[in-house]
């Protein structure tokens, strides 16, 4: 062995030594360019014929590919043909349903025609967007929505200053403003009682101040924070009531006249705005060390998560009036809203609990070591991290809630889908394609909202996982 090696070294007379660089070859056809892309993305998966099993698999993949290509393009073509190419776009002669009738039905379209009847959507557009909201008052809805979009955009654009403050306004002042704009405010609350409670609240706040300075003895000074908070709660609650009772000169509009996309947005946004704080409290309660609080929160969460939303809505519309004292009567929309809030709070609580569990134990201990109280450590250390962590989960819950708002149409509230259903029932537009046209239009609206939000959630997820990577 060693001999052989030795002799090989001795006979090292090289026959060929390269004097210049080897020529640069183009990359193999399977690795670059259009062919390479096609090979890697399509043909490589069906080119293995090394054994009987592999050949069978390749053949199956090839057959599936061809079938899906055909099937997919057929579907896309059907959809485009239905919605665009063959669709009726205008109804200049105001024929209504006859504009979308085939020859067999007495209209002018060729027999066998089956495509969208868009004039039906124009005619019903106001109804499926706003319901029966008075036409001259629509600016109020539009203003609310525009303000909402502007506020949301401000909060979502990361370079802008004071996003936190704007976000807080969006969660507090904005809903109040929307309430006044949409309903017209002017609630029948006597100003006398509001003023009285306001004065009492202010008095309690000053009492808290005095207690803090120690004017009221050591015992009460322990309670100054509690007294102050109670006073503020009084003042805020009655300011809200007062604003609701002020006559801004807006015509009051009953929620029975609301409908369409307006209702969908109101239900979804209210659900999410209320379920966030409620969910935080429930999640903290479920992770609390106090057995009674833990038990109550767990039972509450599991109860609402265990039943379908439609039964909750049934309960809200049928049982809620029985639970309340005589004379207290909620309108239909408010009942459904209460059901949706409780339901989504339970789901939100589980999402937030996930965030709380993901926080390192050292953060809790660090907060305690700094001498922070429970609420201080939650507010300053734990919740900011936990909530940021679960932003994608919160957005996903919102997407679910947004889709689930369609269920309110089953208890007689005309949300987007409900309004669409009742528009379909209009005999003046009765054609065989009416239902499909409406469903297509509503599906596009929902798809745009939900797909947009899911993209945002994925973007946040990527961003958060990047910032967490060390």
């Amino acid at each position: 062995m060693a001999d052989h090696k030795h002799s090989a070294n001795q006979n090292s007379e090289h026959a060929f030594v390269r004097a210049e660089d080897a020529p640069l070859l183009p990359p193999p056809a399977t690795e670059a360019g259009i062919t390479g892309w096609l090979w890697q993305n399509i043909f490589a998966s069906m080119a293995d014929f090394s054994s009987a099993g592999a050949s069978l698999r390749s053949a199956c993949v090839a057959a599936l590919t061809v079938f899906l290509l055909y099937f997919g393009f057929a579907q896309i073509y059907t959809l485009l043909d239905f919605g665009v190419f063959s669709a009726v776009w205008s109804d200049p002669d105001e024929l209504k349903r006859e504009a979308c009738w085939t020859v067999d039905q007495g209209g002018g379209l060729p027999s066998g025609w089956h495509a969208a009847c868009w004039p039906f959507i124009y005619a019903k557009h106001k109804f499926i967007m706003y319901g029966a909201y008075p036409s001259e008052e629509l600016w109020r809805v539009n203003l609310s929505v525009l303000l909402g979009i502007a506020g949301l955009a401000y909060v979502l654009i990361e370079r802008l200053p004071r996003r936190r403050e704007v976000g807080a306004m969006m969660l507090t002042l904005y809903p109040l403003l929307c309430f006044i704009l949409l309903t017209g405010g002017n609630l029948a609350i006597p100003f006398g009682s509001i003023g009285l409670w306001l004065i009492i609240g202010l008095a309690v706040i000053s009492l808290g101040r005095l207690a803090k300075r120690g004017f009221l003895g050591s015992t009460l000074s322990e309670f100054h924070a509690f007294i102050g908070l109670t006073g503020w709660a009084f003042v805020i609650y009655n300011t809200v009531r007062g604003l609701g009772a002020v006559d801004f000169g807006l015509e009051p509009i009953d929620t029975r006249d609301w409908g369409g996309l307006l209702i969908t947005l109101v239900v979804a946004v209210t659900g999410i705005v209320v379920s966030l704080p409620l969910g935080i409290i429930l999640a903290l309660g479920r992770r609390s060390e106090m057995p009674a609080a833990r038990l109550i929160c767990t039972v509450f969460i599991e109860f609402w998560r265990g039943v379908p939303l439609i039964t909750v809505l049934f309960m809200a519309s049928v049982m809620l009036p029985l639970f309340l004292p005589e004379g207290v009567n909620f309108d239909n929309l408010l009942r459904a809203l209460i059901g949706v809030m409780l339901f989504s709070a339970a789901y939100m609580a589980e999402v937030i609990r996930g965030g709380l569990q993901a926080i390192d134990k050292g953060q809790y201990e660090g907060a305690q070591a700094m001498g922070l109280s429970y609420w201080q450590s939650m507010r300053l250390i734990i919740l900011p991290q936990a909530l940021t962590h679960v932003i994608p989960g919160i957005v996903n819950t919102f997407i679910g809630l947004f889709k689930d708002t369609t269920l309110v149409s089953i208890v007689g509230i005309f949300d987007l889908l409900g309004a669409g259903q009742s528009a379909i029932a209009d005999a003046a537009w009765s054609t065989p394609v009416q239902a499909t046209t409406m469903y297509l239009y509503i599906a596009i609206i929902f798809f745009v909202f939900c797909f947009g939000m899911s993209r945002y959630s994925i973007y946040m997820e990527n961003k958060l996982s990047k910032s967490r990577r060390h």
Partner: protein
Amino acid sequence: MSFSAFFYDKRLRSVLFQALLVLSIAFGFFWLVENTVSNLSDQGKSVGFSFLSQTAGFQISSTLGTWLMKYEVGRSTYLDVYFIGIINTFVVAVLGILAAAVLGFSIGIMRLSHNLVIRGFATVYVEMLRNIPLLLQLFFWYFAVLRSLPSRREQTELFSGIAGINITGLYLPAPIAQSGFMIVILVFIMAIIGAVMLSKWATKRQCKTGRTFPAFWAGLGLIVGTPLVAFLALGSPLDWSFPEFKYTGPLLRRGFQSGTGMVIVPELIAVWLALSLYTAAFIAEIVRAGILAVAKGQTEASYSLGLRPGITLRLIVIPQALRVIIPPLTSQFLNLTKNSSLAVAIAYPELVSIFAGTALNQVGKEIEMIAMMMTVYLTFSLLTAAFMNWFNARVKLVER
């Protein structure tokens, strides 16, 4: 002890807070009960479940529930209606879960394909179906697709006339068991037990001696073969009632004849399609995430041990992926079951529709009936949660 030391005592504070919480909840509950009692007495209603033995006076479209409970208007009670609702909910849930699981796993695996066409199709499927509300999809299938079927006096023949479909439903041949069919079923059950025992024995032998045994194929043969032999030996003790369709005769008598074959109502088809297609999109995402969660090193290590790709998938990847997949998968199954309540919108006779809808309107016992309905769903949920805890405990990684 000074007051302030007392006030800041952590344990005391916690007890005080909990006592306050429990008291306020109890008070709130008491308030609700009191309101309810006074409201009910104002309306002249009493509380109780005696209504369950009253006879129900409304028609329910024929489904598995009505068939099993032998529903008859004016003779069956509201308790029967309750059970029919549960059975029909169960039917939709089981059918939906089976279809959604098969479709969801296929789409989930397709999303991981290296083939752009297959991957793209799966991606478009998932994004489309996930982002459109289920109720809208249900309406689409029921009001837009199934309404375009032939009218009740016409039909589209399927399988050269053995079955047929029109707007009143899908008509299939109905099996009618003759005497001796019970024996075939018994043999079938015994064959399943035998196959399970066979596979246990094969595993044991392989562990001991290293010799493999084709337990899967032998078991399959056992399960399919023995009942078939028994069936043929007993002289095929099963008759079929084919759906009969009349094209001629008086106009009102044309169409499928009642009492022949069995019918699957269009509502069931629409609910089943909508639920399984919608849930499959979510299951696909779960499956994809589960397979991606298995570290690549696992596959590579398995290849370097000389295991073939099929065995690698079956013994290395899938068991680890299932640990990630099963918990969210179970909650999707539960979601499907809960979502079956949407069938109320197209009047498929399931629990919400006939019990909390039709029956509630007739009897007016809101509290009792809604509580009974919610109990069913809560039971489903709690059973699922119990299963999930058991499963998680079983497959949990034992860390050393």
